[in-house]
Symmetry: none
Subunit: 242 residues, 2 copies
DNA sequence: TTTGTTTATATGTTTGTACATTATAAACCA
DNA sequence: TGGTTTATAATGTACAAACATATAAACAAA
């Protein structure tokens, strides 16, 4: 096993430490209930200061992956993580699982300049084009979702890919880009003219709006996804435990 | 205005600082898009070290209440009300955290016979009455959520409780009932006459609908909760990792 | 006007140091 | 044996001091 923290890397030490801990935990180095070495020890092992190490541990504690206890040490707590990770199927896989056959109504791919928000999320300039994918999907009885996806140039997509394949499979297998973290925001809106047309509903009818920010393992942004779901055709479920 | 941090208090300084910041933000000292004083300044003002202050700020940043930007400063981000899936705070606590003062517009408590669905979830007969609580809550500028809650008879609520207290605190402290698991379903709907009236919007305007099933530690059902949120005033956020 | 360069100023990173708090194991005593 | 005290080993809190890095704004050059 290698405790590889590169002091000359531009990546901050506490980020490296965080990643390393995640890796160790996921690779059964420290499985479920195990204790980590104590902070002073571990800091020495990684050749970083205790403060820096704590910065890394803190983040994992906040996420619930680690649990600290005085005198007892810091424990791995993988139980909660598993319950959250069920929403990681791609859309079509998820639908198939529910016994719904998905049809692509539209599928456009273009290169566009990012707006302020997007450039900010991708951490790029607004004059650098990004790949935009639009797609309308649904069942035989009509469309029920309108997706807009933007992909980070870093990934290397050309626009000629077969987007009918499950997206995250494509990214993983052909571009070794692994979607590892997603932050989603869900809200309700009234359909504007565009959305109404795409979903074949009336203007101002309610839609469920899902904004999704997807990151790779290094927490670098890879996809920005907007989804407009026809009301009553989509339910978002969340299960949480404390 | 008082920047009151008590160095002799047993409460850690960074916790005090965190609380103080929350208070300042909620009390319009630093409203919405405002910048905080810079870290060095603020640390001097509070008479704590920059490191300690950062500890406090970091927490608020993690919650999304503050946004840092190099060179620009640290900004208050109260824009949308959001709910974190992991977070087990009650509604009003969560809102207070976001610096929003919650007002109760309506609060009714009655005993009703459960319908089929509810009886099924509670695993009781339909001739056994359950406690129903309705409440409309919002800010000064109007209501933004209409809640309906049903409580399992097992808990022992009489209906005379002080429902202005945080709900889960009440259940925990007075009825030793600990909410431990929740399953939620989120969807978009058009407001019907009742919802429209409660939220002071027009019929057919979009609302975010959240259905919540709450269980205790033994996975026994304790609460069934329906929430109708005015569109654009509520964003549900989910973070998931694989 | 545009483009490049500098500079001031904010947050970001990292270390070293010191002492406080607390859960628990070990030692002690009744 | 069983309870109580004490020591210890872990995390928790706090500060000071550098240096790194990003960027807005001012300025200079093309």
């Amino acid at each position: 096993m290698k405790y590889s923290i590169d002091h000359k890397s531009p990546i901050p030490l506490h980020i490296q430490a965080e990643e390393l801990l995640r890796k160790l935990i996921s690779q059964d180095e420290y499985q479920n209930g195990r204790l980590l070495p104590n902070e002073v020890e571990l800091a020495k092992l990684l050749a970083i200061s205790r403060t820096t190490l704590r910065q890394a541990i803190n983040k994992l504690v906040y996420e619930g992956l680690l649990v600290r206890k005085k005198r007892a040490g810091t424990k791995v707590n993988q139980s909660t993580v598993s319950s959250k990770s069920n929403n990681w199927l791609s859309f079509s896989q998820e639908m198939k699982l529910r016994g719904i056959n998905i049809k692509n109504f539209e599928l456009h791919v273009t290169w566009v300049f990012p707006d302020e928000t997007l450039a900010n999320f991708f951490e790029i300039k607004t004059d650098k084009k990004v790949l935009k994918m639009e797609r309308v999907r649904g069942r035989n009885d009509g469309p029920f979702v309108y997706f807009i996806s933007y992909f980070h140039p870093r990934i290397g997509l050309t626009g000629d890919e077969d987007f009918k394949r499950p997206l995250y499979e494509l990214l993983e297998q052909d571009y070794s880009t692994i979607a590892s973290l997603s932050k989603e925001e869900i809200s309700a809106h009234a359909a504007d003219a565009l959305i109404a047309e795409k979903l074949q509903i009336k203007v101002n009818e309610p839609v469920l709006f899902r904004k999704r920010f997807v990151f790779d393992q290094g927490e670098r942004p890879i996809e920005y996804n907007l989804g407009y779901y026809k009301a009553d055709s989509f339910v978002y479920t969340v299960e949480s435990r404390r």
